[in-house]
Each structure stands twice: as structure tokens, then as C-alpha cells.
């Protein structure tokens, strides 16, 4: 909501029409002969060669899947194989002009794109750079099998390396490009500019936009291509990514060299089918996908439909579109028309299309046609073409033999190293800044008005006599998070933060107040109200080497970025074989007072997904120390904050919140009140209710409670809790999460396993009811209250003399509620 942009009611209410420009459809019409001035013979030949390599590579996979052998070499590949036989011209045309600074992202059907982009990169890199790339990848592990006995040129070696790395990856070999942990649908090789392919349809739609954001914000060369299928245009995240990519602010509000659109090309490889659903005529209504560009922005995304059966038509489009991007007029949409002869997968009987249709396309096969055109134009002889083809077959047979030889290409040895995958789940780095250069800021940090205001705050809640300072004087949780965030903005030049209302407003809860003054637009901006794009772009941004703080305004909106948080963010570090790091700290604000869709604590959902760190600090000291630790790290952290206590001062850490930098390691719980008779473990803002319960227990029943604030959920060090339980023998766990499936149940189970013999009663979980969150007026019946904790202790752990319960924690009630699912 920039004040610089005046919304004039006169203009808004004016009558008129939206006018569209015509969207070109297959306007390219040059012959090979005509193009000889634009391409060298060698280039034309390589276009043919690259298409032929892809065709033979995928034919080999198809034969292995369907007949169990290729050229007499038997192999059983149980994993997936989504082939793109027929689509080679589209892939090679897309990749031809791209260099290693240009990144591509893909889909489950991207073998062709990996090989095309890899071959294009090999052609453009000099020998020394190629050697370096190959030798440095896993310290030469992927290179070793192909360099043995190699006699040809470095480029020939690099082609062997590319084919072998891809194939070994598909066959789950540890010498594969990603240690075999990505596999067919997720293979990639970043040194050649090939970024993750994605087995979730449309999964790359927003991630690739984040990569483009990274390039722009960090002034990196190159553009980013998202290779998606025609059917993915129905997916929300693709639309959300497009919305993000096309935001007006890039051209209207970003200043200086930052002004201009994102260097992003959405490349729709339209092979006409989404699995078996026919997009044009059955499952979509766009008729031509290029039409979508007209719905996104006034420039219509410079959309075009291009003939993807002619590699030269695609190359022509890319040459023109690069210019558009370089002029700051991105993003761009290309619909590249193609056709896959094979099924969605080998199990697909193609029951949704006729044989005639497939044959009609095969008759126009791009490789045959292009070969004939080359011969016709005198670029090459037919014999030469046939030689090329047989050389490719030889090369693939050799590559296959290497990739399936367990001595040369073993799978990860989980017998010897049972924790090898566990060790890859987190990178656990500690890095001040992701890149060493001066951060773009508007003024020195000391001149920031918020920073100056904070110097006057009381960093401990109480004065010398133990009286609390007034709220306005207290250094609050929102101030603590701000301090950690602004500190990192002045340290790490790659750090960006965005989300809903982050700029100008300063975040809905005033955490970012003052940041707008400190930072230029390209480091702090407002995103569309589109959580998938907020998190998806952050993933792409981090993959490329940047650090990012996306914000989810209410925890309840996590569902809007479900695939991004549950399927993408946690997985890419391990799926890349630890090639990729993921320094993304997602601030998630847990609401209250706003009813069923704005007051849920979903921290438990995040803990279920391996690969996420999940923390929930609830004191200023913890919030600053843990935000510092999260931002210093290289792993995805879901950083929960509670709206109930943004204004809470520091009441535990004596001496108050330090002004300087400090870290609190993620995973360490903290005793907030020592005691000896019973342990209460709390997650989130429930800490303060647990402390109230401890007071009741002490004053009314003479029980001394030890209150432990979990602070982190994943990772979590149980040692402190177990020590406490050895002493007390009793434990209650409390949080605002609904009790069924709550992470507390997992903790209760773990505690039972670790401390069974010390327990005087089972660990008892006091969570929210398994209801909708009711209105604020009724919240006391939904969220755990201090009295609930006392009641649970009385009923389940230690009957308290003279205690009258108000809440039903009996066994029969528990059975009744479970029977009813409430």
C-alpha cells in the first residue's frame, strides 16, 4: 500500500474496454536453408545430435522397463520412468541458447530437458571449467567411472559424465548426480544450470519464480525457465507463481537497477495430455495455453505459441524472448507445442487416444524431419547422420553397463552407514552471510528510528524491587524478533523478507516496524496474498544460494502452502544429496481471538514432516536468540510466534535481553521454573498458563512443579526432560494444539519409552479440544487453562486432597470422545 500511488476514483470509475493484442501462434516459418546464416553447420548438427541422444536415452529406458534389456544388456529398473519420446525438439530448442547462468526447472518428465540443457552447457563451457565441474562434484565420484579408459576430448568426456550421472541417478546409485536420492523425477545438476525437477505437477511453478527473484535481487546473470506441462496450468501454485512473477512493483516501485520485471520464462511443454486427460477439449478451457498470458498482466506475458516440433522455431522464440527479459519486461510465457508418443508411464496403455493419432504425429517426427532437412540443405550426409546415431547407441550401452555395475556404481550402503540419509536431512551449517559483499541498506543501522527507540526500552520486565515496568517501556517479543532480523539484514546481503503487509505496514503485528525505512524495496516487499507463492519462491530463492524470511500471517494459512511446506521445503537438501542448502526461516504467527480459521496452533503438522526444524519461542530472550540461530543456520526453520504474547516482556532471563548478538541453539528446552514434585512441559504461549497452574499446585496443594518450556519441537533434546522426570516421576504436557495428533502425544510416547521405570503415572497431554476454535468469548473452553492442568493431574496422576475437578479427564470420557471423534 505505497502512498506514492494515488488511486483516483475518477479514473477507476471511467468506462472503456480492456484491449488485448493478438497472441502469435506458430508464426515462425523459416526453412533450414534460410537459417544457415543464423547457425553454423556444427550448431545445426549438434541440434540433431542432442535430439538423437535424448531419443535414444529414453528409448533405452523404455526398453528396459518393457523388455528388461537394452541392446542385449539385461536390467530391471523398478523405479519410475516418465518419458518424453517425441518431445526432443522442444527440449533442445529450449536449451540451445541457454548458458550455465540460465537455470531451468522441470517436472517429472524432464530427462530430455536435463540432457538438452547439459549438452548445451557442455558446448558453451571451456575445457578447464568443464574439468573443474566434473572433478569437484562429490570429489570426482561421478566422474571416476567414465574417466577410466577415456581417450577422447574433454567435451566428449563431459557428455559421458552427463549421461552417466543422469542414468546412475535414475538407478539410485550413490555415484548419481544426487547420490541416487532424487531419482528419475527429481534428477538435476546445478553446475550446468539444471535445477530440481519436480514430481509434483506444477511443483516448479512457484519455486522457479523464486530463482528468478534471486537472480534479480542479487544482480546475477541469466534467466530462469520453468518447464511445466500443459496440465499443470490448472494448479494453484503455478498461478500463484505467475501472479508473484508479474507483480507491478518490480516495474513501478523497485528503484534504480532493480527496476524491471523478473527474468522468468514459463515454458509450457504442451504435449496435449495430462496423464490421460486431454487438456484442450477435455480438462481445460483455455483452448490454447498461450491465452493465459493475457490474463496475467497488461503485457500479456509476451505470450506466444511456438511449434515445438521444429527446434529452430523454439530457438528463434528464445532468442527474441531473451531480449524481452534483458529489457526488464519479463516475465514471459511460451507455449511450445509437442507430442509424446509413449504413454504417461510404461503402464499406460494409451486407452485415451487412437493409434492413428500417434502415427500421425510420428509421421512428422522432428528428428527424422530435421535430419532430412539437414541432408537436403547439404549440411550433412545421410551416412554421417547414421554414424552419429550408432555412436550414440554405443555410448549408451557403455553408460548403461557402468551404471548398473554394483562395483562401479553402488547404491548408498545403509548396512555400513545406517544413518547416511539421516545425516543428509539437515545441513546444520553456521554461516554469517550467504555471500560476501556490502548489503543494500538505506541508512546505517544506528540511524534507524526503531533501533533508536529500542535503546530506551527496559530489557528485563521488572525493576530492582520486582515491579513490572509499564508495557510501553518493556522490550517485547516483537522487539526481540526485530532485533535479530535487522541485525541479519545488515550482515547478509542476500537476505530478503516478504509476505503479506511486510512493507509500510511493518507486518500485521508490528514486528517489522522500522524495517521499511532501513531497506530498499528489493529486500523487503509485500507479496500477493498467496501463501504458495510466498513459500514456493522462498524455496527457489534459497536453492540458488540466498537467505530468506517468508512470513505466513496466520498459522491457519499453512494449508494454503501445503505442498511447499510439506513436500518441497523439507526435502530438497536430502534429495539433492546435500548439494543444495535451504536457509529459509518461515515466520508463522499463531493467532487467537479470531475464531476457527485464524486461531489454530498447527505446529504439530510441521513436526510430522522429516526435514523441517520447528521452533516456538515465547520469551523475548528466547525469541531473539533462536531467531539469530535460525538465521545463522542453513536449514528450513518453521519459526512459530504467538499473537497472544507479542507484547510480552522478559521475565525469566536475569539481566534482561542482551543488546548484542547471541544464539540459543535450536532443540534445547529450558527450565522456566524449577520444582521437584511434578514436571510440566509446555509448547508455545501455554507456558504462561502452565506457570499459573504451577502456582495453584504450589499454593493450594503444596506441590512444587518444574515448568519446562520446550522452545523447539524439532530437533528436541529429551535429556533435560528425562532428568526432571527422574526427579519428579510425573509429567503433564500442554500446548494450544488440538490434542489428537498433537506433537505432545509424540513427546509423551517418547518420554514413556525413555523414562518408563521412573514414572509414577503415564505422561498426560493437556491440549486444546478437538473442535473448531470458537469465538474469543468461548476460548477458555477450548484452549488449555491452568485449571485443566490441575484437573488432569488430579484425575490421572496424583489425586489431590480436597480438589474438585471442573473438567472431565476420566477414562470413560476419554473413550467416549474418541468414539465420537471429538
Amino acid at each position: 500500500m505505497p502512498k506514492t500511488q494515488f488511486i483516483d476514483p475518477v479514473e477507476v470509475r471511467n468506462s472503456g474496454f480492456i484491449e488485448f493484442s493478438p497472441i502469435p501462434v506458430n508464426q515462425y516459418n523459416k526453412s533450414v536453408e534460410e537459417e544457415r546464416s543464423n547457425f553454423s553447420d556444427k550448431e545445426l548438427l549438434y541440434i540433431f545430435r542432442d535430439m538423437a541422444i535424448i531419443r535414444e536415452f529414453e528409448t533405452m529406458i523404455n526398453l528396459i522397463k518393457t523388455t528388461g534389456e537394452y541392446q542385449g544388456v539385461p536390467y530391471n529398473h523398478p523405479g519410475p520412468a516418465h518419458l518424453s519420446i517425441g518431445q526432443e525438439a522442444a527440449a533442445v530448442g529450449m536449451a540451445f541458447t541457454l548458458d550455465i547462468n540460465d537455470f531451468i526447472f522441470g517436472s517429472h518428465r524432464s530427462h530430455g530437458e536435463i540432457l538438452a540443457k547439459g549438452l548445451s552447457a557442455i558446448e558453451k563451457l571451456d575445457d578447464a571449467s568443464l574439468k573443474k565441474v566434473m572433478e569437484e562434484h562429490f570429489n570426482g565420484e561421478t566422474l571416476k567411472p567414465v574417466i577410466e579408459g577415456h581417450t577422447g576430448s574433454t567435451k566428449e568426456l563431459a557428455i559421458k559424465f552427463l549421461l552417466y550421472g543422469t542414468l546412475a541417478e535414475m538407478f539410485a546409485r550413490k555415484t548419481g548426480f544426487n547420490r541416487g536420492l532424487g531419482g528419475s523425477m527429481h534428477a538435476f545438476f546445478t553446475p550446468f544450470g539444471v535445477y530440481p525437477n519436480n514430481a509434483i505437477v506444477g511443483g516448479s511453478g512457484d519455486i522457479a519464480v523464486g530463482a528468478a527473484l534471486y537472480k534479480k535481487v542479487n544482480r546475477k546473470k541469466g534467466l530462469v525457465v520453468a518447464n511445466l506441462g500443459d496440465a499443470s496450468m490448472a494448479c494453484g501454485p503455478v498461478w500463484e507463481g505467475l501472479t508473484f512473477a508479474a507483480m507491478d512493483q518490480f516495474k513501478e516501485l523497485w528503484k534504480g537497477d532493480m527496476k524491471g520485471g523478473l527474468p522468468f520464462i514459463l515454458n509450457i511443454n504442451n504435449n496435449q495430455y495430462g496423464m490421460g486427460g486431454q487438456t484442450c477439449g477435455e480438462t481445460m478451457g483455455y483452448n490454447m495455453a498461450a491465452r493465459i498470458g493475457a490474463g496475467v498482466n497488461a503485457e500479456q506475458m509476451h505470450a506466444e505459441r511456438v511449434d515445438g516440433f521444429n527446434p529452430l522455431a523454439v530457438i528463434d522464440a528464445y532468442r527474441r524472448k531473451r531480449k524481452v527479459i534483458e529489457d526488464g519486461k519479463g516475465p514471459v510465457l511460451l507455449e511450445v507445442m509437442t507430442y509424446r508418443y509413449c504413454g504417461h508411464s510404461p503402464s499406460d496403455a494409451s486407452s485415451y487416444r487412437t493409434k492413428e493419432e500417434v502415427e500421425a504425429w510420428e509421421e512428422q517426427d522432428s528428428i527424422n524431419w530435421f535430419g532430412e532437412e539437414l541432408v537436403k540443405a547439404g549440411v550433412v550426409s545421410l551416412t554421417q547422420l547414421n554414424n552419429i546415431k550408432s555412436e550414440i547407441t554405443d555410448l549408451l550401452v557403455k553408460t548403461l553397463k557402468l551404471a548398473i555395475d554394483p562395483a562401479v556404481s553402488p547404491v548408498l550402503d545403509l548396512e555400513q552407514n545406517p544413518e547416511i540419509i539421516g545425516d543428509m536431512m539437515f545441513s546444520n551449517g553456521s554461516i554469517d552471510k550467504m555471500e560476501d559483499r556490502t548489503p543494500d541498506v538505506n541508512h546505517p543501522m544506528a540511524e534507524n528510528p526503531r533501533v533508536q527507540a529500542l535503546t530506551k526500552k527496559e530489557r528485563f520486565m521488572f525493576d530492582a524491587e520486582g515491579k513490572p515496568f509499564s508495557k510501553v517501556k518493556q522490550f517485547q517479543i516483537r522487539d526481540a524478533i526485530f532485533e535479530a532480523v535487522i541485525d541479519r539484514f545488515y550482515k547478509d546481503p542476500t537476505l530478503v523478507a516478504y509476505g503479506e503487509e511486510n512493507r509500510d505496514w511493518g507486518g500485521a503485528y508490528a514486528v517489522y516496524r522500522g524495517l521499511t525505512e532501513a531497506l530498499p524495496y528489493h529486500r523487503l516487499f509485500n507479496s500477493p496474498i498467496s501463501e504458495a507463492s510466498i513459500i514456493g519462491t522462498a524455496i527457489g530463492y534459497a536453492m540458488c544460494g540466498g537467505r530468506v524470511i517468508p512470513e505466513i500471517m496466520y498459522c491457519d494459512f499453512l494449508g494454503r502452502c501445503g505442498d511447499e511446506i510439506f513436500n518441497q521445503l523439507p526435502k530438497w537438501q536430502a534429495m539433492s544429496g546435500n548439494v543444495i542448502k535451504m536457509p529459509v526461516v518461515i515466520r508463522v504467527s499463531v493467532g487467537s481471538k479470531y475464531g476457527a480459521q485464524h486461531s489454530q496452533d498447527w505446529s504439530s503438522l510441521c513436526t510430522h514432516i522429516p526435514g523441517l526444524k520447528v521452533v516456538f519461542p515465547v520469551t523475548p530472550y528466547d525469541a531473539k536468540g533462536m531467531m539469530n540461530a535460525a538465521l545463522q543456520g542453513t536449514d528450513p526453520v518453521i519459526f512459530f510466534e504467538s499473537q497472544r504474547i507479542y507484547d510480552m516482556g522478559e521475565k525469566f532471563h536475569e539481566g534482561g535481553v542482551p543488546e548484542g548478538y547471541y544464539e540459543i541453539p535450536l532443540g534445547e528446552p529450558d527450565i522456566k521454573k524449577a520444582g521437584k514434585d511434578i514436571t510440566i512441559v509446555s509448547i508455545g504461549a501455554t507456558l504462561y498458563r502452565a506457570l499459573d497452574a504451577a502456582k495453584i499446585l504450589e499454593e493450594k496443594y503444596g506441590l512444587s512443579a518444574e515448568v519446562i518450556d520446550a522452545r523447539s519441537l524439532v530437533p528436541f533434546n529429551y535429556e533435560l526432560v528425562i532428568e526432571s522426570i527422574k526427579k519428579t516421576g510425573r509429567v503433564v504436557l500442554a500446548s494450544d494444539a488440538s490434542s489428537r495428533g498433537s506433537y505432545l502425544k509424540d513427546m509423551a510416547n517418547t518420554i514413556t519409552e525413555l523414562a518408563f521405570d521412573y514414572l509414577d503415572a503415564p505422561p498426560i497431554v493437556v491440549g486444546s479440544r478437538n473442535w473448531i476454535t470458537p469465538a474469543y468469548e468461548l476460548e477458555q473452553y477450548f484452549f488449555p487453562q491452568p485449571e485443566w492442568i490441575v484437573d488432569a493431574i488430579h484425575e490421572k496422576i496424583l489425586p489431590l486432597p480436597g480438589h474438585t475437578v471442573k473438567n472431565n479427564f476420566t477414562t470413560s470420557e476419554q473413550i467416549r470422545r474418541n468414539k465420537l471423534g471429538i
Binding site: G729, F756, D757, Y758, L759, D760, A761, E795, K796, I797, L798, P799, T811
Partner: protein, 443 residues
């Protein structure tokens, strides 16, 4: 109307008291002012008088029981009145002295009976016992069979507190050991080695043949235990050594004679002893050497502005060191009067426990002169930095001037100081100052 008799609270730091003896018994008629029972704290003993006339309807604690302060110990009222409302909730903490199992056994049964009532029938129908893992562990350690306990936990589960309660009240001797003592005239050799510290058959020995029964095992009184602990701690935890010096006592002997005469003649209200003069000399010396008027606290020292003088007093129950606070504000008569008062209160056991706290005094004087001790090494009352031992007066040859030597009465002074707090030179100068103050005593 029945009224309870509570265990009085003697001083802020006192949490429990031990009942010494009951002068009245259940059913006795009592008059206001009658001594009901005696009790002792760590540091002193007291008597509790009846505050009402009536009948002693019930007594809740026995001699030797440790009772929290402000808890009801007895009820006075009219015959037939109900006393249950006054009965304290918990069972008394078993006194270490009450090892006679006849006394404690019925209590166990009572506890079991009361909690048995809370066991839900369904839990026991199939004969299974539900006990928490922690309770099982504790039961095993204490040699208690959880099957014999009734659970007070949820749904009748035996929980840790049930085992703890049973452990507190369980017999101190196994049945076999009990029987063997009766039959074979064996004796227990001390602490039991059985489960939960119970005396088992293996702990029994035949009585010592050489000494036979020629000894009596005496339990230490609380005050004895406390002295033992304090003295041991003092010698273990400080660096103490003693300097000895003599002071010409002629001046104070003369003054003492004068006061005695004046007192007998009724000219002064307060007699003044030699010890009072010495104490006054010490107070004056301390004012000149504030470093000595101090507590040593490890990494810091507490230097007092005022002199709080401790005086070692021998009582029937043992050594006590009451303090006279702000002793430097007093005249010689005032000091004499106050020293006498605290010494008498200590002997009677009516001293305020706060005045016996070693932290209360800044310096202590221990006088063994009356007993003819010529030299000794007093032990510092930690955390004080020093203590002065006053010895008997003996005649010693001295230069009377002009080459004439004669016998002069000399009083021995033994200063023990903590070398961590003071150096030898400092201590010597301080001792010398006491000597000068005694030799040149001025009223």
C-alpha cells in the same frame, strides 16, 4: 469448649521441635499455668504451659516425636468432647528414637486400612495389583510388597507416595530378627543392613563377652549432635592456630575487689566479675582492630561496625554460645548484667534461639579461668574470624622496676584465629591490645 495446644514457634528459623517429656497425661486435669510438656529446638529447650483449665483430652504426639511448629499436639477441654477435629492430618515423622516396633506397627496397619477403603473393587477382582513403575522401583528398594499396599493413585493404582508412607511406618526389624532376639538373647550391632535399613538376622550379634553388658548406649541429644557438627566443621574448614600471652592482672583484681565490696555494701546494683572486665577489654580492643570483629566468608569478609560479643557458656545440656548484641554500647555494669542474663537463660534453656546462632556474634570469649586451666586452644565459632580463651591467673616473676623482681598475678590469654582471615602479626597486635587494655583498665 475444647481448645488445641499447639507446638509453639521459637524463632523464625525453627521449623520443627522435638517433644522432650509429657508432664501431664491423657485424662489428667490441668490448670492454666501447669507445665504440659517440654520440647527442644536444635539449640534450646522450653516448657509449654496450659493456657486453659480443663481436662487433657488427647495427646497426638509421643515423647521424642519431631513435630512441625504450629501443629496441634494436644487438646484441652471438657470430658467427652470430640477431639478429632484437632487431630493433625499426617502421621508424625517417625523419630529415629522410636525403633521399638511395637509402637510403629499398629500405625502401618492403620494407614493400610484407611487407604484400602479407597481401592476400587474392580481393580482387585482378578487379583492383579496396579502399581506405577516408579512405585514398584521404590517398593523394591524399601523391601515393601506392593501387593500389600492399597493404592491412592488414580483408580486405585499404587503410586510412589503409598510406598513412601509405608516405608516411613514399616517395622525397623524383620520378624525373624525380632524372634531371634527374644529366643537367643542376641543384640543388634547397629544400623540394619536389610531392605530399607531394617535390622535383619544378619545384623544380630551375641553380646560382647569382654565387656558384657557393661555399657549403656546413649542417644545423642540434639544439642550434642549440633555441637559435634559445628566443632568438627570448624576444625575441618578453617586454618586456625592459637597465640598465648599473659596480662598483668593486678589492676582488674583490684577493681573486682572494689566492685564486690560496693555490691555487698549495696552501693552498686550490679556485681562485676573478672570475666566482665576481660570482655570489656576485648570490646575495646576490637574497636581498634575491626578486622578481627568479623566473619570470614570465603571470598569476602563481613566487617562489623558494632561488637556482638559471644560468650561460651557451659550448660547441663552442653556448650552454648549466646550473644550480647551491640556490646560496645554498654557500660561495664550493663555488660556485666547482660552477660549474666544470657548465661542464665542458656542454662535454663529459655534463651531466644536467634541469640545462639553463630552468625549472630562477631567475636567470642571463652573463659576457663574459673576451672584453673592455664593454657588452651579454643575452637572458633565459624564464620567468626577469632575467639579469645581466658585462662586462670597464676603468679609469675616480673621486673617490678629498679632491679627488683617479685611475683605478679598474670592472666593467661589464648587467641585462636583463622589464618585465612588474619595474619600472625595482626593477631599478635590485637592480643597485645587486649593485654594492654587489661593491664591499664579504666572504668
Amino acid at each position: 469448649m475444647a481448645v488445641p495446644v499447639i507446638m509453639p514457634r521459637q524463632g523464625q528459623s525453627v521449623e520443627t521441635c522435638i517433644i522432650g517429656s509429657w508432664n501431664k497425661h491423657k485424662g489428667d486435669a490441668v490448670k492454666k499455668g501447669d507445665v504440659l510438656f517440654s520440647y527442644e529446638t536444635d539449640k534450646a529447650s522450653f516448657e509449654e504451659e496450659a493456657k486453659e483449665d480443663g481436662m487433657l483430652l488427647d495427646i497426638f504426639f509421643n515423647e521424642g516425636d519431631e513435630v512441625p511448629v504450629l501443629v496441634n499436639v494436644a487438646v484441652i477441654g471438657n470430658p467427652g468432647e470430640d477431639v478429632e477435629a484437632f487431630r493433625p492430618g499426617g502421621v508424625a515423622v517417625a523419630s529415629p528414637a522410636s525403633v521399638e516396633e511395637q509402637k510403629s506397627e499398629p500405625v502401618v496397619e492403620k494407614v493400610l486400612e484407611t487407604s484400602a477403603a479407597t481401592v476400587s473393587q474392580s481393580q482387585r477382582e482378578d487379583g492383579r495389583v496396579f502399581a506405577s513403575p516408579r512405585a514398584k522401583g521404590s517398593a523394591e528398594k524399601n523391601g515393601i510388597d506392593v501387593a500389600k499396599l492399597a493404592g491412592s493413585g488414580p483408580e486405585g493404582r499404587v503410586i510412589e507416595r503409598d510406598v513412601e508412607m509405608a516405608a516411613q511406618t514399616m517395622p525397623r526389624m524383620t520378624s525373624l530378627a525380632k524372634e531371634m532376639i527374644k529366643q537367643e538373647e542376641l543384640v543388634s550391632k547397629g544400623e540394619g543392613t536389610g531392605l530399607g535399613g531394617r535390622v535383619s538376622s544378619a545384623d544380630l550379634v551375641t553380646p560382647n563377652q569382654v565387656y558384657a553388658q557393661d555399657f549403656e548406649l546413649q542417644k545423642l541429644s540434639n544439642i550434642r549432635k549440633l555441637i559435634a557438627k559445628a566443632m568438627h566443621a570448624s576444625l575441618q574448614n578453617s586454618a586456625q592456630l592459637t597465640h598465648h600471652m599473659g596480662a598483668d592482672a593486678r589492676k582488674v583484681l583490684e577493681l573486682r575487689k572494689k566492685f564486690k565490696k560496693d555490691f555487698e555494701a549495696g552501693k552498686v546494683s550490679q556485681n562485676v566479675t573478672i570475666n566482665d572486665f576481660v570482655c570489656m577489654a576485648v570490646i575495646r580492643a576490637l574497636k581498634k582492630f575491626p578486622q578481627v570483629n568479623s566473619h570470614f566468608l570465603g571470598d569476602q569478609m563481613r566487617i562489623f561496625n558494632k561488637v556482638h560479643l559471644g560468650l561460651a557458656v557451659d550448660t547441663e545440656r552442653g556448650l552454648m554460645v549466646p550473644v550480647v548484641r551491640n556490646a560496645d554500647d554498654l557500660s561495664i555494669e550493663g555488660l556485666a548484667s547482660q552477660l549474666k542474663a544470657v548465661a542464665e537463660q542458656s542454662r535454663k534453656g529459655s534463651i531466644n534461639p536467634e541469640l545462639l546462632n553463630p552468625e549472630a556474634a562477631s567475636f567470642t570469649v571463652s573463659n576457663l579461668g574459673n576451672y584453673g586451666v592455664e593454657v588452651f586452644t579454643p575452637v572458633i565459632n565459624l564464620p567468626q574470624s577469632a575467639i579469645l580463651g581466658v585462662c586462670t591467673v597464676v603468679p609469675r616473676p616480673a621486673d617490678l622496676g629498679g632491679g627488683v623482681y617479685g611475683f605478679v598475678p598474670y592472666m593467661g590469654l589464648s587467641l585462636t584465629y583463622d589464618h585465612r582471615a588474619l595474619d600472625g602479626g595482626e593477631a599478635t597486635l590485637f592480643l597485645k591490645e587486649i593485654k594492654l587494655q587489661i593491664e591499664n583498665f579504666e572504668l
